[in-house]
């Protein structure tokens, strides 16, 4: 029986969730024994296998068109999709952009900052992703499991990975369920 495959990526994120994941320290060896860690943003493989993975894990909010593509691809290729961390679950810190509006944010960032001269302009290269309204992951794709926290703490992440590795749906109860 092949080991379950896990693939992970991040969207509009600070990488804190993945750092917290690394905080499981030596237990990562145990996880690696139980599962086949495929793509992550911090290892060699960057995309989930075309043949599909068992668990897809996404952190970060959706605030660019390419995030939508990444999310849809991860959803398509994963049997179970996990929204990892408050940004993926709630929209999180990046969602503050919705309060001032995209245009105001872009103008402030690229034109109006004190250290920008008159040549400042909002990037419009066609290769760039198009900024969108900031959304939680499940506003874009169906999410099977939510792991809130900013970041979720390492022990909880380890518990979730271990449960998923053993083919069980984790149960976040008591101290494991937190939003901060």
């Amino acid at each position: 029986m092949a080991k379950p495959k896990i693939s992970s990526d991040w969207l509009a994120a600070c990488a804190g969730c993945h750092m917290s994941l690394l905080d499981i320290d030596e237990r990562i060896v145990e996880i690696a024994d139980l599962v086949d860690i495929r793509a992550t943003p911090i290892t060699d493989l960057k995309e989930p296998d075309e043949s599909g993975v068992d668990v897809g894990i996404l952190s970060g909010a959706v605030n660019l068109s390419n995030h939508e593509e990444v999310a849809e691809r991860m959803r398509k290729r994963s049997k179970l999709l996990v929204a990892f961390g408050d940004c993926a679950v709630f929209g999180g810190v990046p969602a503050q952009r919705n309060l001032c509006g995209l245009q105001a944010a872009l103008r402030r960032a690229y034109i109006e900052t004190e250290s920008t001269d008159e040549s400042g302009q909002i990037p419009g290269d066609e290769e760039l992703g198009i900024p969108t309204e900031v959304r939680a992951l499940e506003e874009v794709v169906d999410v099977d499991f939510f792991l809130p926290g900013c970041p979720p703490d390492a022990d909880t992440i380890y518990y979730v990975l271990a449960e998923l590795a053993n083919g069980r749906i984790p149960n976040l109860a008591g101290d494991r369920l937190q939003w901060h």
């Binding site: 408050d86 929209g91 969602a95 499940e138 939510f146 809130p148 109860a173 369920l177 939003w179 901060h180």
Partner: protein, 659 residues
């Protein structure tokens, strides 16, 4: 009694009990948000919904009174779904960023409610409509993005404090908590008591000093007593790592039932004075650091010869922020042993009926009497300026539950809200009291046969001498005479109270109280002002011409007038916590702990004996007030033996709350 069944449990509860209260008494927990134990039930958030057999829809348990044979279920699948829905609606309505909010992770009742329901995401995303942040107030910030419109702040500002600064504007999704007609909080009629921030269930009201200094729920909590004034409010000092984060009212404390004023809640947190950390001795015209031994020997050298001359050359002044233990030692040392020429508290002379109250205990009023009173007379005290919590208990009963009559020659903050405000010419209090007595008699409202043989002619005379129309005097008398539970409050504004001549006025007040069945209470002055009176320290302070002066200041401040009196003192020794103009003038300065760093007893204005409890560790090298007074006595060769309780016992009310 009413018979109800809740989740299969049967119980009997008094008529008028709400379903929420009944459930609580049965040990059944129903989640709530807008509900607050010390506020009237509101029924706004709908989180407490329950199933009532026979009712068409779910009912809010916080406002629903029980009826006989009621059958309630508190935890059905329909209810759980309803709760999650309400919480989902709340999160979607405004902008909740748990990631960086100062109450996230334990102090947020909204987050806790969601976690209790096992919510791991928001089924409906927010609409991201931005809300304003009001940062105009000196002590807190109001972030409307986090407000769930529970109205606890609005209700507290009105029901508990009687200030009614906060209200709500607009309707539905546009509803906003506003100050006055919609002005920034910092420009409003807010009196900065902070009651609103103490009841806010979310992070909307942000305490500027304590935010982001760790969760309040995880900090150290020490119950104590505020020593800002003689109300003696019960407080909770919230500390972490020997830092004071915030001060909250103790909702269980009898004197204040959770309320605090600016002086109690915020002023101590914003302490800016420089802390004294070592003894100082004046050498070559300048204050220099010295050892305790040096400083104490110098004091002994100055005081000893004066003691032998029967102490006439010695003067001593004590702050009434000091504990009873300290004041008792101070009194024994300077009065009984050194026979100092003048020994007083910083409040100096204030006659009160304390001595006289003891002759007629029925007259002695309490803060509870103020709360229950239907007619409050205030003579020469401004309870909107000082002793504010006592003022809250009057304010919140206006205008329907109590009549407020203010008698003060000076401008009084309570004038505007008073039913009647009488402004006798300065010095006319005693006469006016005579007029009130005459008026009560004239209206035949006296409850006793008093010895006053006054006729209407006296009313005319009083009216002429005080400048107050007869009709006004009679209006006040009518209100007082017809009241069921009147209370007479008198303060330092009562003429003669400062010079010691107010005995006549006090006597008349007592007569008036006896005639009308009123209770009497005086806020007096600072925390231990009643204890100071009990120890015989309510005297005029006259240091002029004395050779040495000792000031037991503690963490207090003295007035400019008192500083001027001390400028010419040939030798001045001060025990204080903070540097000030006074310590800068002194020849010896002894650093002492402040009120948060020592235990001590305080007798509040009701005669309630309470205790401060140490919550913080003083810096190294600083001693307690008790230690310092004991050591001064030591170097002078005295062993102080006073038991501080003895003198206070006659003034102390016995109360089950003291246990």
């Amino acid at each position: 009694m009413v018979h109800v069944t809740i989740d299969g449990q049967t119980l009997e509860v008094p008529h008028g009990t709400t379903v929420l209260e009944a459930s609580k008494s049965a040990g059944i927990h129903i989640p709530t948000l807008c509900h607050f134990e010390h506020l009237l039930p509101y029924g706004g958030c709908r989180l407490c919904m329950v199933e009532v057999e026979g009712a068409r829809v779910l009912q809010p348990s916080c406002t629903l009174p029980v009826f006989n044979d009621m059958v309630v279920r508190t935890n059905t699948p329909q209810i759980k779904e309803a709760r999650e829905f309400i919480l989902t609606m709340l999160f979607s309505e405004r902008n909740h960023f748990c990631m960086y909010c100062q109450v996230s992770g334990g102090d947020c009742e909204l987050q806790n409610a969601a976690l209790d329901e096992g919510m791991d995401h928001w089924p409906i995303p927010p609409i991201w409509e931005p809300y304003p942040v009001d940062a105009s107030h000196p002590y807190f910030v109001l972030d409307h993005n986090r407000c769930i419109l529970c109205r606890r702040c609005i209700r507290a500002c009105g029901e508990l404090v009687g200030n009614y600064t906060l209200g709500s504007a607009e309707r539905g999704a546009e509803t906003m908590v506003v100050a006055d007609n919609g002005v920034p909080l910092g420009e409003s009629t807010c009196i900065r008591c902070g009651t609103c921030i103490s009841v806010c269930p979310t992070g909307a009201l942000i305490n500027r000093q304590s935010a982001y200094r760790g969760r309040i729920v995880d900090a150290d909590h020490t119950k104590s007593i505020c020593v800002g004034c003689s109300v003696g409010c019960g407080i909770e000092l919230v500390t972490r790592d020997n830092q004071l984060l915030e001060i909250n009212g103790d909702w269980d404390a009898p004197a204040n039932t959770g309320l605090l004023c600016e002086l109690g809640r915020f002023t101590p947190i914003y302490e800016e004075r420089q802390r004294l950390t070592s003894p100082l001795v004046r050498k070559d015209g300048q204050l220099k650091t010295a050892t305790w031994g040096e400083a104490l020997s110098l004091i002994a050298a100055q005081f000893k010869p004066l003691a032998d001359q029967n102490g006439v050359g010695l003067a001593a002044l004590a702050s009434t922020r000091l504990s009873a233990e300290s004041l008792a030692l101070f009194k024994e040392l300077f009065v009984d042993r050194l026979h100092a020429g003048t020994v007083a508290s910083v409040e100096e002379y204030f006659t009160s009926s304390a001595e006289l109250d003891r002759e007629n205990p029925d007259l002695v009023g309490s803060v509870e009497d103020i709360k229950q009173s239907d007619c409050v007379f205030v003579f020469g005290a401004d309870l909107y300026q000082s002793h504010q919590v006592a003022g809250f208990f009057i304010k919140r009963n206006l205008p329907d539950k109590t009549k407020l009559i203010v008698i003060d020659p000076a401008d009084n903050g309570m004038d505007q809200q008073a039913l009647f405000t009488l402004k006798p010419k300065k010095g006319g209090d005693a006469d006016l009291l005579l007029g009130l007595i005459a008026g009560i008699n004239t209206l035949e409202l006296s409850r006793n046969k008093n010895g006053y043989d006054l006729d209407e002619f006296t009313l005319a005379r009083v009216s002429a001498s005080t400048g107050i129309a007869e009709a006004e005097i009679l209006n006040a008398c009518r209100a007082l005479g017809m009241a069921e539970k009147p209370v007479l409050i008198y303060g330092k504004g009562l003429t003669g109270s400062f010079t010691g001549d107010s005995a006549e006025s006090i006597r008349l007040l007592i007569d008036l109280a006896e005639m009308t069945g009123a209770k009497m209470i005086s806020p007096r002055g600072r925390a231990n002002s009643l204890a100071a009176e009990a120890y015989g320290l309510a005297n005029r302070f006259s240091p002029g011409g004395r050779h040495a002066v000792f000031v037991a200041l503690g963490d207090d401040r003295i007035s400019q007038r008192q500083i001027q009196l001390l400028e010419e003192a040939p030798f001045l020794a001060v025990q204080a916590s903070y540097a000030s103009q006074l310590t800068a003038m002194a020849d010896v300065v002894l650093p002492v702990k402040n009120w948060t760093e020592q235990d001590g007893h305080y007798l509040n204005m009701e005669g309630r004996l309470q205790q401060t409890h140490k919550a913080l560790l003083a810096p190294e090298g600083i001693r307690s007030n008790v230690e310092v007074l004991t050591e001064i006595a030591d170097v002078l060769g005295y062993k102080l033996q006073t038991s501080w309780e003895t003198a206070l016992t006659p003034y102390t009310i016995s109360s089950p709350a003291l246990a």
